[in-house]
Symmetry: C2
Amino acid sequence: MSTTMSTKILCKDAEATALKLRLDTGLRVRLAARSNEYTKSTSGLAPTYLQANLVVLPSRYAADFRGLCARNPVPCPLIAESSSVGNYSSLKSYLPRLSTSSQLAAGLDLRTDCPRYNVYDGSRLSKAGVSAVTDEWTDDHVAFLIGCSHCFESALECAGFTVRHSVQDRTVPIYRTSVPLNPSGIFTGSTYVVSMRPFPKKDIERVREITRAYAPTHGEPLAWGWDALARLGIADIDLPQWGDAPLTEDGQQPLGTLVGDDNNVPVFWGCGVTPQEAIMKAPLEGTILAHAPGHMLVLDCREDDVL
Amino acid sequence: MSTTMSTKILCKDAEATALKLRLDTGLRVRLAARSNEYTKSTSGLAPTYLQANLVVLPSRYAADFRGLCARNPVPCPLIAESSSVGNYSSLKSYLPRLSTSSQLAAGLDLRTDCPRYNVYDGSRLSKAGVSAVTDEWTDDHVAFLIGCSHCFESALECAGFTVRHSVQDRTVPIYRTSVPLNPSGIFTGSTYVVSMRPFPKKDIERVREITRAYAPTHGEPLAWGWDALARLGIADIDLPQWGDAPLTEDGQQPLGTLVGDDNNVPVFWGCGVTPQEAIMKAPLEGTILAHAPGHMLVLDCREDDVL
């Protein structure tokens, strides 16, 4: 690499870092996403601001999807939806402490305010990672915002716990399970999807306690222990279906080399990929929109507002 | 049997029938239970009035139990709780359409208004079928009312469907499953308990649709089909853990003689025994109170008020 090119890359990195630092509120992230000034993952952006998964469905599926969330609140915590069919700028909140749309996200445009989107034709991905869905949005679409686990991870870090994938700069490992979701209308036959973070056995009760309060963002773990893998129908801890494979604390070995170890006990939470899976498995027709993985909608409210 | 004795029995039956007919509102049932004029099962009493399962816990377990219901709303639909710790006469409603305690049950006394109660010392049954728990109730107790399936059974009957155990004058069969509950605090390691009603395969979508609306009383089925037994971990349809074994339509054979039959497909709903099981499995201490099985609390609101 020539010195000139290397300097250019360094400059670009410095610019990117400066931009990231400037995106310190939900509103700033949304505006930068809207103008395409920012089109990357929202991980680490606007600390303490609540981030949400976005799912947009044709209105004929809205009641069944609302029911799916109501019947499976641990993996599918619904925090808000379009205030009316076709509305991309105003939300109905399900968070008890935040009643108005502007408390959630002022001046919102759900068609542009995620950094990246995926577009599906039924269950077939038709466009990956587009920067806006203005052309795809119709007056028959209904948006749903689902809580995400960034929220309780921050709380764990504040309490002095190490969230391993985070310090190792990896993506949280995510697994399909055999635990059935409670079906709702057209959404049948799906199962829980879970995320995993390892903790020492002695810390698990405290980890449960800290995350319990964050009910709209999955709340406390749904299972823990090496024996939980069998109960959840997870064949191999080293082969997550999404995210990066988990590692030992020193980052040198797969976590599966420590099966049974009390200092590295897998702890499983409900995961927002669950409703996406349920949608992909259902025989839906029409245009479905979602944020691209990791490119979430960042809100104006704070993580502690879900408490 | 002598003619005199037979006449006496007939008179007694006629009296009992007359009493049942007079108990045509929730209030009348509660007052008759309070005075011990009526001490039998509430099945068939006060048609259209909402009946509820009662669980009363020491206050230190209240938050965890509330969380258990919130995280598992299909088998544990919480419809109300004591408006404050120790309160046996006023309820906080979780039904969206009924906000005041008096809309649920005017002049309530939770210590006397079920026809029969069970008393537990921790998880040990210490008194079965007592007519009041006035002496056991303390100012540290919190009562929880959980929805029950009578509600959607009425709706199915109104729509012209046969609820088989009901026309056969038997108790609905209830099964333990291997599907894990989402844990909440001290309530860990429990599984769903489900009730079963057989329907012809062609009717299942309509049965799902009718019961879907009754979200606070378990809502739509959580599984259906002969293959659902394996998914739920139910070993034998003819050996329910509670209630009566299910029969063929003519009442002559166990339902299990028809495995695979499309006219007798098992349909499973979440069951209010689930929270009772979770309580019995948890390492609780102190005095726990509950209605005796079948001897429910009858409310002033109507079944359709949960819609």
